[in-house]
């Protein structure tokens, strides 16, 4: 969240309120809501929009080198401006898209590191494999497990015709375990050559705008974690993590872990 706050050009001290707004924003993705809760989500959503509108106005007055300035200055190919609605959509997507997914991606990758014997040792020996590790975790955990589309025409798949104007749920997480593309799909394989060709960031026009940033954040997190700590393990005998119930997003409610300082890190501390 702090990374995105800075990139957008928002004050870093706002990152906690932004985190709060985006946490609330995704609540309807996973929870059945009472009318009161729906009101609450809507009100907080409007507060986020007003915050972003004010920030965009500020960038129009005082342009800076950041994403929000780029957004308010951007023009279509014919030279026309984006509508306020479009700009707001982008800003909201960037704030919300950057938060839960990346955070859960890191947490669920840590869970995979602990649950798959031998992986941590290999990553300590061969840090270059962290890339494949990250892609395999994105593939197997798919923080955005599925999204909705509306068909614009009849679509035939596997001898079933889906009529036009149907709402379909694209299940990225299921495609990511298709054994025709990923042999032994359930296995976290540090030597999988096509590991990055998963659907965790969707495909085509809606392919995640933040994918390069998310990959960078995940790779750096594990490079640094593995440099400084070792023997990652669960903290308790059982119930070390649980998922937030939900269809679209795959999120961890909590994850309890322990680790020890790596020797190299202790040396630097002493120096």
């Amino acid at each position: 969240m702090s990374v995105m706050t800075v990139l957008l050009g928002l004050p870093l001290e706002d990152h906690e309120i932004l985190k709060h707004w985006t946490d609330v924003w995704v609540l309807p993705f996973s929870h059945a809501m009472t009318p009161e809760q729906e009101m609450y989500v809507a009100k907080e959503g409007i507060a986020l929009q007003q915050y972003l509108l004010a920030a965009m106005d500020e960038k129009r007055q005082n342009p800076k080198e950041d994403l929000l300035t780029l957004l308010v200055q951007s023009r279509r190919e014919d030279g026309s401006e984006l509508t306020t609605h479009e700009m707001l959509g982008f800003a909201e997507q960037a704030v919300v898209g950057a938060n839960e997914t990346t955070q859960n991606g890191i947490a669920m990758a840590m869970q995979m590191l602990i649950e798959n014997p031998g992986i941590e040792e290999r990553l300590h020996d061969e840090p270059a494999k962290i890339r494949t590790f990250v892609e395999e975790c994105l593939r197997l955990q798919s923080p955005t497990a599925g999204m909705y589309r509306t068909t614009t025409c009849d679509v035939e798949m596997h001898a079933v015709t889906i009529p036009a104007e149907s709402v379909v749920h694209l299940r990225f997480a299921a495609g990511n375990r298709d054994e025709r593309h990923f042999p032994e799909p359930g296995k976290l394989d540090l030597d999988r050559r096509n590991a990055a060709s998963h659907l965790a960031f969707s495909q085509a026009v809606h392919h995640c705008l933040g994918a390069p940033l998310a990959r960078l954040e995940l790779n750096l997190s594990f490079q640094i974690l593995l440099e400084r700590r070792k023997n990652f393990r669960f903290a308790y005998a059982e119930e070390n993590y649980d998922h937030v119930p939900g269809l679209a997003l795959r999120q961890l409610e909590y994850l309890w872990i322990k680790s020890d300082p790596a020797e190299a890190a202790m040396d630097t501390n002493a120096a």
Binding site: A128, R131, E135, R193, N194, A195, A196, S197, H198, F201, Q203, H207, A211, P212, R215, L216
Partner: protein, 65 residues
Amino acid sequence: MKITIDPALCRSRARCYNLYTDLFREGTDGKGEVIITEDFEDEDLVVDATSAANACPVGAIILEY
């Protein structure tokens, strides 16, 4: 580091050769083509190759090191 593009995965999205012209150029059918096919160690190139692989929407850029 060594870069390869898996031609079976490449969908001609053009990000690699539009963004990282030191490493990639446009090949047939708009597919990406690696310019430096042998191993290299230059740090700037390693950073560019990593960014290119992170940006590829279909995961077609394979890095070995």
